[in-house]
């Protein structure tokens, strides 16, 4: 994303979507636009008559939960790693912090559920790989907690 900013020449705003090739437009952005918005006409409801199967795509909203609160508590604790903190974090904690940083995607998008689902349907697309595997490190962290 940062790279995209620089090539666009703007500097402070990431650009994506639209007709400009849409190179940096994420799947989540696309999903949010075309599944959630746009014109709906009742004739399309009868699509089953044509024998076309439509995948159900779930774009439910993630609400604030204990998971979210813990995520922010953890992020706050991590601040001291490079702030004017009193030190004292050992290497295990440091590693954990990094892993959790990578796991941010888990709860950070309204449309993650949909993205994952869509992702499951498509093997081997490079772009999609960027978005899906972020879940894993978080799970490992959880096991340790439990």
């Amino acid at each position: 994303m940062t790279l995209a900013t620089q090539t666009q020449g703007g500097g402070h705003v990431d650009r994506g979507g639209g007709s400009g090739g849409g190179g940096s437009s994420g799947l989540a952005d696309v999903v949010e636009l075309i599944l959630d918005k746009g014109l709906v006409i009742d004739v399309f409801v009868r699509v089953s008559l044509v024998g076309i199967e439509i995948l159900t795509i779930d774009a439910r909203i993630v609400v604030a939960s204990v998971d979210t609160f813990l995520r922010f508590a953890e992020a706050t604790n991590r601040l001291d790693l490079y702030g004017a903190g009193k030190g004292g974090k050992d290497i295990t904690e440091l590693t954990q912090g990094i892993m959790e940083g990578g796991a941010k995607g888990k709860t950070s998008g309204v449309l993650d559920a949909a993205v994952d689902k869509v992702g499951e349907l498509l093997g081997g697309n490079d772009e999609e790989r960027e978005e899906a595997p972020r879940r894993r490190p978080r799970q490992r962290t959880r096991e340790r907690e439990g």
Partner: protein, 247 residues
């Protein structure tokens, strides 16, 4: 009977870009016109369900490429109808409604702006400014992770609340600053605590550059604490007049 995918609607005299690639096996994108409205259509893959990543991206790609050159009413994904139905069921019965909607959106395009806090910057600020949060934070640091579970939940909850309070103010500022370059604004309430704005702006085509400049300027002024992402120009997804339901 053959199935037809409908990407969106344009005025019958609109000219589409030539290099559109649809989601069907042929990839072809054409139009079917009825009086003053035309549907942007293409074929449909019959050997697999619709809804893959490529399908979604193709739908958006077609609609937004058309939006770049002319006014388009984008369909919600997925829109499939029988070929004969395009005129009989879609265009003819809704003709006047589509004409009105196209007229309303004539010469306008959408931008979607998403803003997210630079998390660390905001967290630092909140911890510094709120004595209660700072105290809780210090206490947690002294305790092993398991022992501090409920404290951590409380800390997170208070931080989320503090973020949301700031967001209300910051989002209003952003909308006020950028909103004057748009003819209409549709803001969605963010669902994640670090999200500040998620808003669609309907902008006159002629004012697009001005709008983009304003966003860029906003980005420059707020770059230390706010990460902005601008999508567009897009089809007016968020501004479709929905008067169909009552007819």
């Amino acid at each position: 009977m053959s199935a037809t995918y409908v990407y969106g609607l344009v005025s019958a005299d609109a000219e589409l870009p030539e290099d559109l690639v649809g989601l069907g096996p042929s990839g072809k994108v054409t139009t079917i016109a009825h009086e003053s409205v035309a549907a942007i259509v293409g074929d449909v893959p019959l050997d697999r369900p619709l809804g893959t990543r490529d399908d979604l991206v193709a739908h958006e790609g077609v609609v937004d490429a058309v939006a770049a050159v002319t006014t388009v009413l984008p369909m919600r994904f997925p829109a499939v109808v029988e070929e004969e139905g395009v005129v009989e069921e879609l265009l003819a019965p809704h003709h006047d409604q589509f004409v009105r909607a196209l007229e309303q959106l004539e010469g306008k395009i959408q931008y979607t702006l998403k803003g997210t806090y630079e998390q660390d910057v905001l967290l630092r600020e909140i911890v510094e400014e709120d004595a209660g949060i700072r105290e809780l934070h210090e206490r947690i640091r002294e305790l092993p992770e398991d022992a501090a579970y409920y404290d951590r939940v409380e800390l997170g909850e208070r931080i989320v609340k503090a973020l949301e309070q700031r967001r209300d103010v910051d989002a209003a500022d952003v909308l006020e600053r950028i909103g004057e370059y748009a003819v209409d604004v549709s803001a969605t309430t963010p669902t994640q605590p670090e999200d500040v704005v998620n808003a669609a702006f309907l902008v006159d085509r002629e004012a697009a550059e001005e709008f983009e400049d304003a966003v860029e300027e906003l980005g420059a002024d707020t770059s230390e604490w706010l990460r902005l992402r601008l999508l567009g120009p897009l089809a007016p997804y968020d501004f479709i007049p929905q008067d169909d339901r009552t007819e």
